[in-house]
Symmetry: C2
Subunit: 363 residues, 2 copies
């Protein structure tokens, strides 16, 4: 099986996403980028034993010096302390403006490495080597980088693009089943918001995806990246259309923040959040009845939670009001306006309350 | 005396620098910008008693809510802790993506507020209200925002442009003489690197500038902003030409970092650094003899130090190697190639050592 490439076109410059098995350990995957004497691999304590030495070996021919910084694993470490660890490592190894950063890991590593690259000396180049399904379909496109704050997820960050993304499908083999499911949540998302035919395809091929079939994965990753690129390409700075990528995320972020980051995986929270947003879409008469049932079934088949943990209503509303999509204190939701089409909508608190009640576990 | 305006043209969008007396307390100075329900003024404990209430009063008609965060004063507080204080204030007051930040203070406040604006929710708008001469001529143009790291100045930051700059010349009246001199250092800089006639003008008008004559100040601030805008306009991301703005800064940053930030003012270090860089330019045969004498005299007349503090040579070299202009470990200097023209040059360590010995105080 050969690799596939998605080309991301941007105003300033574009980059490639290469998708396929075995890419991580081929030097050619990383060739032809900006020349850099020093490279720094940023990874975590779970990924490092699996892939760090292999990536180092691939990069050895390209850089005079390849350093690594190994961070603690988990969304709860997507914070100032980890960001500082990257910056300190860059400074203590006298890295210059051409030093190339490699993000080796999931979305947390990608987001933090990208943000560190964005702000170190006001910007150094970086390459994404996503090792989770979620990161391959979600973090590879869009240039969003960030860290969390105790008061909100991804509250501190920048828009910053990688030089290239290397999505090695073999890395999916070492993922826990729970993380494969979390990745499937973001893949499923692209159906209802943008491509009804892709939703059909996922329903047909879900078992192959769960079995980590490389051909099915390659198509799902490629199609997800294409859809995301199409959306982002029309709205790089998230002023309008791009917000539809946050389908399920307003409820989802509240779950993550309410439980404390790291309890639920991001994809799990988004999966459950999509169920809630689908219900809200139906209740407001935007989507035809049936959407909620269809999405709930698929999300459950994927092994994702469809019931949110219990939180008091006031806590839900407070958490959703600090969402970055909120404006002047009003919560705005991405809702489905018909299969394959989404838009931003405000919703009366009592409708939101009904949705929360219908899809939460009892106290 | 009426106010003057310099228009900064950028690829994406431009902005205005308004220069004149009495601007800070006129609501019209801030009118016509992006609508924002919430505003946050970032200032420090020295500036707040002088201008915070006046700025709040000017902004009252434009925003439903005007908050303020008052930081400790000084370059040594241009750090993570202060940045966090701004971010925490934004989050705890449930600021959204349209919240407008106002930087009320000198370069430190401007750099930190701009950086906070760049990274809060991946970017919110901000306005500069510089209250020091240095900030009016230096931080108003170029979009450089940053904080310091113990291992290097401005090591963490972003390129991010304000919506407008309000340079109220009346604020210069409340500045200590030492800070006026520090501002003059950056004004003097624009002569040798870009405009020999401006250097003549400064020599003729230095006494008026030291006496804080508004007409002389208005011309000096406007011409400095124009020259900086011309340089930056050709090179927004500092890949080449823009580096000439760092004339005197490689030696200067080493002085600041070596002594610990806050001991010397940035402008004082740049003043002394320009003397050293002028000498290096002559020793390498780039500038005709006479430059060193002429600049030293002017810098001394402005009330700036022309002798660096004692540091061992190895410490100088180590500090200059982490400068952002360094590449692959080689120090690069901005040197004068003839009055009004500058460029980047490497220099043999022994020449650099001679310059340091000639312009440092004894141990």
């Amino acid at each position: 099986m050969t690799s596939e490439t998605v080309s991301i076109e941007l105003d300033e410059r574009g980059y490639e996403i290469r998708i396929g098995p075995g890419l991580l350990e081929q030097t050619s995957s990383y060739a032809g980028l900006a020349k850099a004497r020093n490279a720094l691999i940023v990874t975590n304590e779970v990924v490092a034993p699996l892939y760090l030495e292999r990536l180092k070996a691939s990069l050895q021919p390209l850089h005079a010096k390849v350093d690594a910084v190994i961070l603690p694993d988990g969304e709860q470490h997507k914070d100032w302390a980890s960001l500082n660890a990257i910056i300190d490592k860059l400074l203590s190894s006298a890295s210059d403006r051409k030093t190339l950063l490699y993000a080796l890991g999931g979305g947390v590593i990608g987001d933090m490495t990208g943000f560190a690259a964005a702000i170190y000396m006001r910007g150094v180049p970086f390459v994404q080597v996503p090792t989770t399904l979620l990161a391959q379909v979600d973090s590879s496109v869009g240039g969003k980088t960030a860290i969390n704050h105790p008061l909100g997820k991804n509250m501190i960050g920048a828009f910053y693009q990688p030089l290239r993304v290397i999505a090695d499908l073999d890395t999916i083999d070492t993922l826990p089943a729970r993380e494969v499911a979390a990745g499937l949540a973001e893949i499923i998302k692209y159906g209802p918001i943008a491509d009804a035919a892709f939703l059909d395809w996922i329903e047909t091929n879900l078992d192959a995806l769960l079995a980590r079939d490389k051909t099915a994965l390659a198509y799902a990753v490629r199609r997800s990246c294409e859809i995301k690129a199409w959306v982002v390409g029309q709205d790089e700075r998230e002023s309008g259309l791009r917000a539809i990528l946050n389908f399920g995320h307003t409820f989802g972020h509240a779950i993550e923040a309410g439980l404390g980051y790291g309890q639920w995986l991001h994809g799990e929270a988004v999966g459950c959040g999509m169920v809630m947003a689908a219900d809200l879409s139906e209740r407001l008469g935007l989507a035809a009845p049936g959407l909620l049932d269809r999405l709930s079934r698929l999300i459950e088949r994927a092994g994702l939670p469809v019931k949110a943990p219990y939180m008091p209503l006031a806590r839900w509303l407070e958490l959703m009001r600090v969402d970055k999509k909120a404006e002047g204190g009003a919560i705005r939701f991405v809702l489905i306006e018909g299969l394959g089409k989404a838009g931003m909508h405000a919703a009366p608190d009592e409708r939101v309350a009904s949705v929360i009640a219908a899809h939460s576990l009892p106290q």
